[in-house]
Symmetry: C2
Subunit: 357 residues, 2 copies
């Protein structure tokens, strides 16, 4: 068994049933046919139960993007060269990446955490250096990381959650950057869901047919090599994870333990969320899924997260970028759900006749 850091043993916090019930009653009093705001009603009610507020709010969202390189890129599984990881971290820091634009537009704080890249990242005030190594080992040939590296990555995620709490942040969005990380995420999803490689391997950033075939073979080979049990998420992360994926899993466990609601991004982030709910039962209650990715394997992972209590995806726009972009794109909807819940008049207040029988 891969050793389990002590802090992972704490249970997820419980949502507040009274706040949920109160919010549900309030929704029925608002000047609209019952249920007419659809999923926006469910989101407001869920957030009320998580924030223990009759009128939930998302005023101070935090985006944390974890970046790291992947040894498995040696197997030819990505459409982009590996130096792009570091280049994109700098692009994010300079404000030119999709997640940079989305953070600005949504008024979200953004933090970039480098866990180790092959190409050196020049120091930048917006990039937090938390280097574990120059990337993982090639998991097609051996374990991706050591026990100590896994513990460090999980701990970096937890630390990001704690910084967000110290800064009074009210919603956590995790993002990732790492050339090759759909290969790692696909292998993890296969291990955690007990599915074969062909079910969950897709084009990632844009592989063609032969590229997908090669990636599928690499994942199948890794699954046969490591033979991780579906009920050992830490072993899965150690053998086939990435530093950024393990950090996201650690952050998500910590958020659930510490009552910080999460808005989850696409395929890679969702696989980290799946690891988190396997590490910490009940963590799913704290997750709202931002979107369904165009990466084909995402729907299976989404189904598993919904079964673990997560709120179903809000968007389905064919996005497949990562970085946290799909979650950030869904953030305005979460805020509109809160505003409608808090600001609409009730039938009584408005003097509107309620539904006739």
């Amino acid at each position: 068994m891969t050793p389990r850091p002590d802090w992972l043993r704490a249970p997820a916090a419980l949502p507040d049933g009274d706040a949920r019930a109160g919010a549900a009653v309030h929704q029925l009093a608002l000047t609209k046919p019952p249920g007419a705001l659809g999923r926006l009603e469910a989101v407001a009610i869920r957030l009320a139960s998580l924030q223990r507020l009759s009128k939930p709010v998302v005023r101070r969202p935090q985006i944390c993007v974890f970046a790291a390189d992947h040894g498995v890129v040696q197997e030819g599984v990505s459409a982009f060269p590996q130096e792009v990881t570091a280049q994109m971290v700098l692009n994010m820091a300079r404000g030119g990446a999709a997640i940079s634009v989305l953070a600005r537009e949504t008024g979200s704080a953004i933090e970039l955490i480098s866990l180790g890249t092959v190409m050196h990242i020049a120091p930048h005030p917006l990039v937090r250096e938390a280097v574990i190594g120059p990337g993982t080992a090639n998991f097609a040939r051996g374990a991706a990381m050591t026990d100590a590296q896994l513990a460090q990555a999980l701990g970096e995620g937890r630390a990001a959650c704690e910084r967000a709490l110290a800064d009074r942040r009210d919603l956590f969005i995790g993002g990732e950057m790492g050339i090759g990380n759909t290969t790692s995420a696909s292998a993890l999803a296969c291990a955690l869901l007990g599915r074969p490689a062909e079910d969950l391997v897709g084009p990632g950033t844009g592989l063609d047919g032969p590229g997908i075939g090669r990636k599928r073979d690499v994942v199948a080979q890794a699954l046969a090599l490591h033979r991780v049990s579906a009920d050992d998420p830490l072993a899965a992360l150690r053998c086939m994870g990435g530093f950024e994926i393990a950090a996201l899993a650690g952050a998500f466990v910590a958020c659930a333990q510490r009552r910080l609601p999460m808005l989850i991004d696409g395929f890679i982030t969702s696989v980290a969320a799946l690891a988190a709910v396997r590490i910490c039962r009940g963590a799913g209650d704290w997750m709202l899924l931002g979107h369904v990715s165009a990466e084909p394997g995402h729907r299976c992972v989404v189904a598993a997260l919904e079964a673990a209590g997560a709120e179903a995806p809000l968007l389905d726009l064919g996005m497949r970028l990562g970085e946290g972009s799909g979650a950030a794109a869904a953030l305005p909807l979460v805020r509109l759900a809160c505003a409608l819940h808090a600001e609409m008049a009730t039938f009584d207040q408005a003097g509107v006749a309620p539904k006739s029988g």
Copy 2:
């Protein structure tokens, strides 16, 4: 033939093919895998072609909500009493309705236009009085309105578009309020799509099974009574429309003629949009669909609008409120699409290596 007001004969403006092509090329240069922003890329490219701008923007959206009562309510087709139309207009004016909250949160201007309600609406500075009559006649027994009333309603829509243009608005959202108006919209959709009542009649604001059966019978009876040809949208509006639906159709035609992009709401608004594209070929190019409603008939109408050139719905959240709420909820996505298009760095600017192979 129902007489056609002269202004309806002007054709829809043409989107700018060069602006579209330029925007598409620009998207490929941005620091992301090609296509990775999914539908957000298509929305930015579409808006570039409509606004004739290399970097489209939505800074000054306009929401116009048209309200009117429906004689067909006499047939027992709504879950709410008819005085709710006027009550809800006042609720909107006072800021308590869903569309009021969404307008505030999205920084949209909102205008409420009363075209005639059974219950008097007390004068309010935010309610524009443009009364055509105290509601339509019961279209299950005769024509809903006269030729003159139809022309007046269409003209009120056109006037709303012109006020928006005079105020330099850059996106038009139409909304509606009218107890009974899903019955009118269902009948119109059946006539314009050549489908039977059972295909398109649904619960509206919340009818139960027997209520839906009654509504379906009323629509079937009206279709048999009026025998409107699918290629005569003005006759359909006159015989079975509502003042607010005809006004929306007029507004949408005018927006397409005058180069004002539209974000279309749910079932009722989409039926008005369908009438608009039947009146004015090419109007669909100017429409982005905000969402798919939970009202079952909406998907058929959406398919027809997409076939007429409209951008497919952005949201599918089970909303079924009307008022323009589903379009307003989609507005932040349109803005994020514009921001990503305008503000992301290119591969060259960021010094990021493009896709290999």
